[in-house]
């Protein structure tokens, strides 16, 4: 688990820096996809444990809070809360409404 967390810390850091410094030059009509958000959604959809999903949301949210500029007056922790909310939302949706097909032995 510790290895996984270190991996998240590094990968989200690189993604955030790429998003704010590299990909901004390739915006389409002023829009740049939020890669941290996409990565968190991806991990939440296909990740194996809840702990891993929560940590991805916490780390991703923290980096967005640090590196996205709060000119609209968002408080620090805004993106962390949003991503945790996303984690809970996806968890409820996946547990209640999504069934993955499994092979049953007859």
């Amino acid at each position: 688990m510790v290895k996984r967390i270190i991996f998240f810390v590094l990968i989200f850091y690189i993604l955030t820096l790429l998003q704010t410094s590299f990909l901004v030059h390739f915006n389409v009509f002023g829009i740049v996809p939020n890669f941290v958000l996409i990565a968190v959604i991806f991990i939440n959809l296909f990740g194996s444990s809840d702990r891993e999903k929560v940590f991805s949301a916490l780390i991703g949210g923290f980096y967005l809070d640090v590196f996205l500029l709060n000119s609209r007056g968002e408080f620090f922790g805004f993106y962390t809360l949003i991503l945790l909310g996303l984690f809970l939302f996806l968890k409820i949706i996946l547990e209640k409404y999504v069934r993955f097909p499994t092979i049953k032995k007859i």
Partner: protein, 281 residues
């Protein structure tokens, strides 16, 4: 039958325990998060954290910024070769026109100086400028991060311009070694502006996504596409005479007492590396 009831009872107890444990976990996480948010926002600790991360990341961000700019320029060069050729021709023509205007203005400047001297008027104090470098950009919020902060003498509200005296925005949040610049296209931004050739005043509002609108222009006034818009002293947000952009499209309605226009900003953040902060105004 009692066996089934027993099973249901056992499942209920297990479910209850699991639910109870989950609620406990959620409560713990919420308490920790609340503490985190309170500590970071109300003690000003978030500023130090941001400053620290900007400091350790700025070399990487500089490299990413340069790499992004080079790749983007290369791609644009390939994709828009024919457009660029035409643009170069247009710019050459415009350059010749401007050179002619400079010659006239230089003569006027000399005349002005002589007259000022004769009348005993002092020359206007030149602005004090601080050179800053762009580190990163937040497109969704029309703001950028520059490499000078409170320790370098930057304070909130200072005007930021390009080397060509084009208005870019003003300083928002200031950290120890970095500052955030809120662009004029930010949705929170509005200030007084005018078309100097026609002496028409109005209000510029940021629309987000590097778009600007020029509002509250009296309907009876005639404005044309490509008219130049500069800042006015109205409202006291920016000093007057800084270039904002050109009129792109005009919106006029018979029922509306005012007309508005879309402005094409004179700056392109993608092509900028260095900016100036006016430290004395």
């Amino acid at each position: 039958m009692p066996k089934i009831y027993g099973k249901i009872g056992l499942m209920g107890t297990l479910l209850g325990v699991k639910l109870h444990q989950n609620i406990k976990k959620v409560v713990v996480v919420l308490i920790l998060l609340s503490i985190f948010i309170v500590v970071f926002n109300f003690t000003g600790f978030s500023r130090n954290v941001k400053d620290f991360f900007f400091l350790i990341s700025s070399p990487i961000q500089k490299s990413f910024w340069q790499a992004g700019k080079s790749v983007s320029d290369f791609a644009t060069g390939i994709l828009k070769t024919s457009t660029i050729k035409k643009e170069i021709e247009d710019l050459r023509f415009e350059n010749q026109e401007l050179l002619g205007q400079i010659a006239v203005l230089t003569e006027l400047k000399r005349e002005n100086e002589i007259l000022r001297e004769a009348l005993g008027l002092g020359l206007e104090k030149e602005s004090e400028l601080m050179l800053v470098r762009i580190i990163s950009k937040d497109i969704s919020q029309d703001s950028i991060l520059v490499n000078k902060g409170e320790k370098d003498g930057v304070s909130e509200g200072l005007t930021v311009i390009t080397g060509q005296k084009v208005l870019l925005g003003r300083v928002g949040s200031v950290y120890d070694r970095f500052s955030e610049v809120v662009l004029i296209s930010n949705k929170e931004s509005s200030f007084g502006a005018r078309i100097p050739e026609r002496e028409i005043d109005g209000i510029i509002k940021g629309k987000g996504g590097f778009n600007l609108s020029f509002d509250l222009i009296p309907r009876e006034k005639e404005i044309l596409e490509n008219d130049t818009v500069v800042t006015s002293a109205l409202g006291g947000v920016y000093s007057q005479g800084l270039l904002v952009g050109q009129i792109k499209t005009i919106k006029k309605s018979d029922v509306d007492p005012f007309q508005s226009a879309e402005i094409k900003p004179a700056f392109n953040v993608n092509n900028l590396d260095y900016l100036f902060i006016i430290t004395n105004g």
